[in-house]
Amino acid sequence: MSGIVHFALQRRLVIVVLTLIVIIAGYFSYRQLPVDAFPDVSPNLVQIFTTTEGLAPEEVEKYVTYPVEAAMAGLPGVEKVRSVSNFGLSVVNIYFKDGLDIYFCRQVVSERLAEAREQIPEGFGDPGMGPISTGMGLVLFYYLDDTTGTHSLEDLRSIQDWVIKFNLQTVPGVTEVLGIGGFEKQYQVDVDPANLQRYNLTLRDVIARIEANNLNVGAQFIEKNAEELIVRSVGLATGINDLNAIVVKTVDGRPVYLRDIATVKIGGAIRRGVQTRNGEGEVVSGMVIKLFGSNASTVIQRVEDKIEEINGMLPEGVNIVPYYQQKDIVESSVKTVLSALIQGIILVALVLLVFMGGFRPSIVVAASIPFSVMFAIIAMKQLGMSANLMSLGGLAIAIGMMVDGTIVMVENIDRTLRESDPSEPRIHVVRRASQEVLRPIAFAIAIIIVVFLPLFTLQGVEGKTFKPLAYTVALAMLGSLVFAVLQAPVFGHLLMRRPKGGKGGKEPLLIRGLTKLYLPVVKLFVRFRALAVGLAVLLMLIGALVFPKLGSEFTPKLREGTIVVRLTMAPSIALTESKRVTLIAERRLMKIPEVREVVTRIGRGEVGAHSDPVNSAEMYVLLKPKAEWREPGNQEAMENIIRDELGYLPGVLSNLTQPIEMTVAELLEGVRAELAIKLFGDDLDVLKQTADRIAAVVQDVPGAADVQVAQMGGVPQLLIQPDREAITRYGLNLSDVQEVIQAAVGGATSGAIFEGIRQYDIVVRYMPEARNNIAAIKEILVQAPNGMRVPLAQLASIEEIVGPRQITRENNQRFITIQCNVTDRDIGSFVEEAQAKIDAEIDLPVGYLTTWGGEYRLQQEANKRLAVVVPITLGIIALLLYTSFNSIMNTLLILLNIPLALVGGVIALWVSGQNMSVPASVGFIALFGIAVENGMVLVTYLNQLLRDGVPVDEASVKGATLRLRPVLMTAITTALGLIPLLLATGTGSEVQRPLATVVIGGLITSTILTLLVIPSLYKWFKIEDVKA
């Protein structure tokens, strides 16, 4: 191993050039690194959307969802298939194993989708895959501002669909642009049923006539004077006048025109979503979805440039106004970590200067930071990781640790140089000094890397969130190891000089001062070992007392900087009503002086991003610059103001959320309760009844709280059940009746009008008065083959019922969820008891089964994994220590540092009022490593002194005093490197703060203990093979 140093010192130029290459390559890698706000925690899934206009959930499930699900069975790598059948929309989510290539997944899905298409009845919709994107793909939302007020919502929507969308979709990295709001223009033929009767026509005739009179054809060519003339016949209707002039019937040579039986007008298509603004009314809006894996910041930049360009093409007074841009959080979260990174570097450099007392050694140590960072960035690029809050955060955390190896190395070189014989060549001294500390450094850094092992086993959201951090820490530490081993000796040789005073040069003033203070204390501790034991026990007791007082939370909420108010209204609400209620809410919010604009999306627009029903509204609250707030920059206060002003909205649930948080939650579709019992079965009514009974049983189990059965019903339906007997009596077919219902009430598309390349549907339907109420629907006349007309009420029973709002399925089965939380008892025993009670009291119908899930299962799985991984990690650390020291006692002594370090972390959390959370756990994990590292540095030297024949007590004191500088330096650099994260207030800082708190707190206790307890207890744990 020591050969490496020799090797490096002999090829100094190569090493210098190599260093430069790494730094330059790192810089270019950074430029190319995809930049995201946060690690993408979206599951690896392919979504299949099918719109089936006008179909109720039951039909959607039967005709669309089921065939799609069935086709997807047995795909490689599928974890589960979950589906939601809504009114008019089927969404099938196919969750793949993490790590599978998204394009592979889409390909296998797409192959099977062809199969599914064949199974779906004609006219029931065409399934298509969602955008190649993730929950973080919604990078920019905009609305169209019409300052002139002269453009209708149809016009604006046409501009959106045919100008803006087309242009934005050409931007590289944009996979989809989806429109919402306004009206999709269509040509509506509103037929008066009385006129049909008058002229003895049926709706079917009208539809056929329109289709037959709206055509362009080509007829090859003719030759004329050696030229070819292409023959084409143009018969496409170009507008309302052409449609009006279509002859639907001729009686005795007298034509009946379409205008005689119907009103032809331009209108809006049926919609399941609108976009409103500022409580004033509707706007037309769009959202840009970025391609999976593309660089958010560059895509957004390109989109912005394109928007600028498109704005120039739009009619006078119409402008694209972005109202949500992911760029803002990308920029601010990257800014948060970058500034923490830079501040960290400066702080660390300052510490070095003070402690090293020299410019040159400081430079050598400081140089390890850019090298390690760049090393990590090159590796990130190669591994396909993105730069985000977490991955860059990992670098910020590691700053203080990156220098540790080099500090020990340089400190040793510095000391050795000072103490060496002036006649010895400098290169020899450097080599000797380097080789001395090489092993402990390598082991210490290896331990820090190993310590992050448990993080790699995290699964799901936490895994995706914290793995990038673990990766970058590990990578940066690896870089720092390389630097310490290869570069540090070389740069040390190139830059460091013997002190001018010759042999025995003095250490910097500060160190001498500290040593003077430290010496008596350490002497005291070495003499009275009980003092050390007492101190350690006392601290551990404090830790044990404080720990239970810590609250616990999952992960602190990331502040995205954009506030979204989500309104949930009654499931049966009509779009017009939800729009009315939303406008009321918007007007309330507009009263807040800090609010600049409120833009709300209700329901869903073009299919692909959202599948929200019309009872759900997402209000984007756009605020004035933070400085103008009544409490500048205080987002929490702002949120409270918003809550207050929104106040009580009858019939509406409102909660504050954030754009990315919301989208990701939607994709995860998890149950946010500790326990979820899923009851699988076929019959919706039986499911509901059984679920209610299960809920009643669970409710009685001690510890149960918030027991709830998911609501499936609540949406009224007008159920038209044809009476087969009546129908046959009139010589009709069932389909004759249903076609009339479909076309008259729902409308039927019969061709399209082309305006240039823009294509607008022609929709034939009864006029509103003849279909928009139950009485009118009962009067719809169906024509029998013999020409008589029969009202619908005579052919079918028509009744109002309450139907399901949606049907959810998992792995091909319908299910209902019963969720509950558990208080004051252990969940495991609760589940056992509840399960036993359910088995005893409820006789599940044949084909019905229950499964237990919820956060509790995730938690159990995580606990199980950690129960294995944490001891293994400790084992590896112990093994590494043992390999390094070849002494069990030494190993134990160093491991003793760990609990002492943890105490500091616990106290720091408690004092700062933070909770135990995943990032705090990550902090504790980091502490493991740092504490061990500190111990190693000291124990190594103590062993060396012992081997040199110094008596153990004297060695303890002398070693501790001499190692004061490196121990303090590594501790202080690590702590100071984290201070910027601790104090940062920018986007994403809330996630890093617990981590920084824990490490800094732990460092304080662990450093004190390293310096006092280890020398004191060393005698009991000294290496065995040396007789003192």
Binding site: F547, S552, P613, P650, P716, F924
Partner: protein, 302 residues
């Protein structure tokens, strides 16, 4: 050892659950309180329950026909050749007015054909010089001062439509609707179409209603005097059935109501709401939604 602690810590960190607010499912007899401002903001309107008369209607298709009681045909008395055609379709004629002159085949003397009623020529089958037999009507003269409205009765309507009921006839485009009374209901159904008809004699002094027109007839199939009549907009379907929100001292409470007769806008309340009580007549959906609010956060739909 402290390692255990750490593991516990990790476990808590990884598995900790943020307790979410979870609404309870109790909406028994909970009154909803809304301030006047909120009522106004949400467009919720109140009314006092009161009695009234409900007019029930059914809408049926129909056709204008010539009043067959005021139709006269002109038929040649003797076979002969047409010497003169005096009237054309649409010409008004008086009773006794000569409409054509024929020359009898046997007598070879001209004789006049006269109208038997006042009216308008609605049909004509006569040409100059034509030889006519005595078995064919050559003129139809109808008195259009009133017309028949034949309203198609489907099987489902037969029981409800009776002689004497008032009918509002509308002919669509630019025609003022007119009112008449059913004075005849067909005793049998047409075997082919399985429909019957009800007839209204409609005065037609201006000739607005032209025979052959399709019309829509709104038949008032009954009027009911009711103790309490409320608009349909007040009704909401709740779990326990159709309900109305009533204002009480504690606030608004849903009350299950039993309904009687109804028309397109109003309904009779048989029980559940007494005259004089204040109820929500418009915007009751907001209250229904508020009642179900506790259930909305479960089984979340997105």
């Amino acid at each position: 050892m402290k390692i255990i602690y750490l593991m516990m810590g990790l476990a808590c960190g990884v598995g900790g659950v943020t307790a979410e607010e979870q609404g309870h499912k109790e909406h028994e007899e909970e009154a909803i309180q809304l301030s006047p401002e909120v009522l106004k903001e949400f467009g919720i309107e109140l009314a006092t329950a009161a009695g009234g008369t409900l007019t029930m209607e059914t809408v049926l298709p129909g056709e204008i026909q010539i009043n067959q009681d005021r139709l006269a045909h002109v038929v040649p008395r003797y076979p002969g050749v047409v010497l003169e055609v005096k009237k054309n379709i649409g010409d008004p004629v008086k009773k006794g007015e000569v409409v054509a002159i024929l020359e009898g085949n046997d007598s070879l003397t001209p004789y006049p054909l006269k109208a038997m009623v006042d009216g308008v020529v609605t049909d004509k089958h006569i040409t100059l010089g034509e030889s006519l037999q005595t078995d064919r009507s050559i003129y139809s003269i109808a008195d259009l001062s009133d017309v028949w409205v034949n309203v198609t009765l489907y099987q489902k309507d037969l029981a409800r439509v009776r002689k004497g009921q008032t009918v509002t006839v509308s002919g669509g485009e630019h025609l003022e609707p007119a009112q008449g009374v059913i004075d005849y209901v067909s005793p049998t159904l047409d075997e082919r179409t399985r429909t019957g008809y009800a007839r209204v004699v409609l005065p037609n002094p201006d000739g607005t209603w032209k025979p052959g027109m399709f019309i829509t007839a709104e038949v008032q199939i009954g009027t009911e005097a009711a103790q309490v009549v409320i608009p349909l907009t007040a009704l909401q379907t709740l779990e326990e059935g159709i309900s109305v929100f009533v204002e009480t001292d504690q606030g608004f409470k849903p009350r299950h109501v039993k309904l009687g007769h109804a028309n397109r806008t109003q309904v009779e309340v048989l029980s559940g709401l007494k005259a004089g009580e204040r109820y929500v007549s418009k915007g009751a959906f907001t209250l229904k939604a508020e009642l179900d609010r506790g259930e909305m956060n479960s089984g979340h739909s997105h």
